[in-house]
Symmetry: D2
Subunit: 137 residues, 4 copies
């Protein structure tokens, strides 16, 4: 209750980092979300402010992110926003994280070939192998 | 202003229908969105209510939907909700449409290989050709 | 999971109907949500499509809706969208309902004086009494 | 396009600060949004993570926020999320701002008496006067 749900459309800004933790698989990457506005005078679309988020993907979503996303690809991400304040090395940091529930390539920018992953699929023991079965495109 | 924006995660329920209209390319398909809730007593997830939407995708998004989506695939869709009332053949109809801004395969359910489509790409003159380059998966 | 959450900004279109059901208090009203778009040529805002929803408010939210909302007032509503199909009297009906989690007067259109209702507040045994303590405005 | 829209339900954490700028009236306040989750074992709701946002309200929304909101009141806020990175005094700062489009008292926690403000209303020349017409509650 009172979760801050967000849906953002942007570009993968860093290569996803994948870890097998005791709590399960997790992948994370930085996402750049640039708003665009229409300039009626010049009749063109211009870039506005860019929001950066750290996106976290757990369990099967984490594994499939690792097997599917590359830097620069356009994605749509839905999840819970967490704004965190921390003190590290005498510096104050705030980060904006998204705990993702769903992530997909944005089809307004290209095509995608989907391959359903069944639970208990043996190929999942080595997530790196997932990419090998996909076309270079 | 005052647009009803929604983001839904569900499954493609009908094969996308593609048309080249004078106003540009458009694809549409039915989407089934089934909510799931956790039964703490039985310790299981159960299916709840299913919402059905007609999703409309225009221009490059329409072309790429045609080249990427099949019945049964899990997707995340963001767009404007339009609830329409109509009278047809003496019957009253209400439909719930989503005018999509972004659509992607849900990576929590599988992997996806993305191929960016450049504007002016010759292969786009025949959208059907897009699917031929994809694995059967 | 996979709930269709929406947030809409519109106007109360019907007087809220309040019921004390065995499952608890519930209020419902119709909400009109008219999108507006900017016409750059004429330099004016124009009305677009209007979505109509039936908003349902349960428990304390239902009681306070009954004590606070009147026809024509501007509100912001957050909740779960439910699109329902029914057969009644040989006719096919679809309705778009919102099961509200939060409702508030839209302060972009006016001011509001808030009065917190404590749980167990005696005045709540008669919801109609709530309105008497409020200014006519 | 690609705006990061959010809707949050939380509590006003600081008294709104109001300014008449050359670009128009603006009010800002801090908002605390605490997620809550259900503990099925203990059968209770518990507090989770708290997100803090700086909410900005412009023009008539800013004036009415100034005339309506007090610290501790529960509100629903819809707007554009802006995550900003800054360097100030050798320190790195990130802030999470919401550029609000609609704000309302959350009626799940109490009742509200609404008073529509007409454009050109003389009472708006002195926003402080708005509060005087409201009950102490």
């Amino acid at each position: 209750m009172n979760e801050t749900m967000v849906t953002v459309v942007g570009n993968v800004a860093t290569t996803p980092v994948y870890r097998e933790l005791p709590s399960g698989p997790v992948a994370r990457f930085r996402l750049a979300v640039t708003s665009r506005y229409f300039d009626a005078v010049k009749n063109t679309w211009n870039d506005g402010h860019t929001n950066f988020f750290t996106v976290w993907a757990n369990r099967s979503l984490g594994k499939n992110v690792q097997g599917s996303l590359s830097v620069g690809e356009p994605v749509i991400v839905q999840g819970r926003l967490k704004v965190r304040d921390e003190e590290r090395g005498g510096q104050h940091w705030t980060s904006a994280d998204i705990d993702a529930q769903a992530i997909g390539h944005d089809l307004s920018r290209g095509t995608a070939a989907f391959r359903r992953v069944l639970k208990g699929d043996a190929s999942l023991t080595d997530p790196a192998s997932l990419r090998e079965t996909e076309p270079v495109g």
